[in-house]
Amino acid sequence: MATADEIAEAYADWQVRCNGNARLARMLRGWDRTVHLMATDTGDGFTIAVSGSVLADLRHGLVDRPDLVVSATSEDFADLFWGDLNPSEKYVSGEIVLAGSSEDVMRLDAMSMVAFLDQ
């Protein structure tokens, strides 16, 4: 189990890597979305805003209306942001669940994979 603070710390690391990634910036172009993260074990909710190819700081709590909702265990969120977990594998196995339009799901799946590979 990971606490909200631990997830925030891991996210901050991931955010820096993502925002400095040219390939991701290209993939994010024109894709302004609000993403909610739901930690299925702790019940913690988080919000990430993506705007102008930049990932904003993680906000604790569910803010605004989400375009996408990602559900996973708190541990998986922390591992994903630290880059220790292959997101595509977890998504395929159903341990990470993405809810949203098929296009948004496709994008987030691909972008999380690129962030993982490009680290």
């Binding site: 390939r23 290209r26 993939m27 292959n86 595509s88 594998e89 998504y91 395929v92 196995s93 159903g94 098929s102 296009e103 496709m106 994008r107 799946d109 691909a110 972008m111 994979m113 690129v114 590979l117 490009d118 680290q119």
Partner: protein, 471 residues
């Protein structure tokens, strides 16, 4: 009637899933149907064989994935169960002669190349979402998208050779031809029809997710049993005379004594349930309209040989391997663990696809066997070199399919001939997975096309609704 052996409301030419599904619906609508099948079996591109060593192998189509609802319903109806394709353990990437284990969809040995692959696939999938799978030629940029090949698009869309190579491998496995042989527009519509290119190449969550216990041909056999003596085997259609009042279909039917003789059936309508390249060999009188005949000439089948190596046990699982290979060279660019659900013996299945399939013609069965086993041994260890049995199914050498798994349309074909894919020619209607609006190239698409054509024909004949009824 003089010179005619049989009459019917509808003749269905081809007893693959498309033809059988059409025949079942037409019979349920109260129409008198005759199905003429060229081979001595039903199922078309789906063919389950029990090998000499007792292994049940699917020599053709074998998988079912999410959103293939018709196939799922049919399997449920005949009580055929499914089980997940084996994915436990690491996949192996064979690149530049090296072996690299990976998990998930994309090989990870070259992170930059892999990230580029994912980004390229996403670009392709986003583009595909804009293209209608049933009428790609209606896209506002159809002219441009149909003027270039997938290879030309990937050359600029991808930054790395790794991505280009992985897209090529995926294309070979999916279409039986290389990216340089396929129109970009065709690929986009085809991918969208199955959700996305990513879903076409996925195992879990994608087109290769599950297999059928006992093989994928069972539902075809079940459909044929329901149709009883309406299905005539060993009777390839060789000629079709057609006019406003109907058709006279001539088959080269094998009699009980094995002697072939013309078998003529008069009918009000004909359903052609086979790939365009195969119906191109039938003599139509009068000839088909130019666009349709051009389609038959310009929709060559992919080139694929499916090989199975049968072992006493799935030994690669002990080494933590899934049996899946993604290779940048060689005969086998993609392999899967095709062992039975209970793992009572081991089966590795691989595709020899595209140019490799054509070029390996001269190697002969022994040459191909040797090369395949060498490649399997390199990936899975020396034990792989000594299977109990090795089989190959060369679809390109099958006169009644002419290749596989699907028709490969190059540039200009969809925009030029696409509208004639499903357009009836007088009393002649078209079915087959190539005509499907979703999951073209798959069993699901074949079933959809059968359903669609049955509705079309029943409406034309003013028959009752061709709702799926009893067998």
């Amino acid at each position: 009637m003089t010179g005619v052996e049989q009459t019917a409301d509808v003749v269905v030419a081809g007893a693959g899933y498309a033809g059988l599904r059409a025949a079942r619906d037409l019979a349920a609508a109260g129409l008198d149907v005759v199905v003429l099948e060229a081979r001595d079996r039903v199922g078309g591109r789906v063919f389950t064989e029990v090998t000499g060593s007792g292994a049940v192998v699917d020599q053709g189509g074998q998988w079912i994935g999410p959103t293939q609802d018709r196939l799922q319903a049919l399997a449920d109806e005949c009580g055929v169960t499914r089980f997940p394709t084996w994915v436990e353990g690491s996949n192996l990437e064979v690149r530049s002669g090296g072996l690299h284990p990976f998990t998930g969809l994309v090989p990870t040995s070259d992170p930059d190349g892999s990230a580029d692959t994912v980004a390229t696939l996403l670009d392709l999938d986003l583009l595909a979402q804009e293209v209608s799978p049933s009428s790609p030629w209606d896209h506002p940029d159809a002219g441009f998208l149909d003027s270039i090949t997938l290879a030309e698009w990937v050359a600029t869309a991808a930054d790395t050779d790794v991505a280009r190579s992985l897209v090529a491998t995926a294309t070979l496995a999916v279409f039986g031809c290389g990216p340089d042989e396929l129109s970009l527009l065709y690929v986009l519509g085809y991918a969208h029809g199955g959700g996305s290119m990513s879903s076409l190449i996925r195992t879990s969550g994608g087109a290769q997710e599950r297999r059928f216990t006992g093989g994928a041909q069972q539902m075809a056999v079940w459909l044929a049993e329901g149709l009883g003596d309406r299905v005539v085997l060993d009777a390839p259609v060789v000629g079709v005379a057609h006019g406003p009042s109907g058709v006279t279909v001539t088959a080269d039917r094998a009699g009980a004594d094995g002697v072939r003789a013309p078998w003529r059936v008069d009918a009000r309508r004909l359903v052609v349930a086979m790939p365009p390249a195969v119906h191109g060999r039938i003599a139509f009188d009068p000839p088909l309209p130019g666009a349709r005949d051009q389609l038959a000439q310009r929709a060559p089948m992919g080139s694929v040989t499916k090989v199975h190596a049968v072992y006493d046990r799935p030994f690669w699982r002990d080494a933590g391997l899934s049996g899946q290979i993604v290779a940048d060279t060689g005969l086998l660019r993609a392999t899967f663990d095709d062992s039975p659900e209970d793992g009572s013996h081991g089966v590795l299945m691989g595709f020899i696809a595209g140019p490799a399939d054509r070029l390996s013609e001269s190697a002969g069965p022994d040459g191909r066997r040797g090369a395949c086993l060498e490649e399997l041994a390199r990936a899975f260890g020396p034990e792989a070199a000594g299977p109990v049995e090795f089989t190959e199914q060369r679809w390109s050498a099958e006169p009644f399919t002419r290749g596989g798994p699907v028709a490969c349309l190059g540039p200009g074909v969809l925009t030029g001939c696409g509208p004639s894919l499903r357009r009836p020619v007088g009393p002649i209607h078209w079915a087959g997975t190539e005509t499907a609006s979703a999951w073209s190239g798959y069993i699901e698409g074949a079933l959809e096309s059968g359903e669609r054509v049955a509705t079309e024909v029943a409406a034309a004949l003013g028959a009752g609704a061709a709702a799926p009824g009893g067998r």
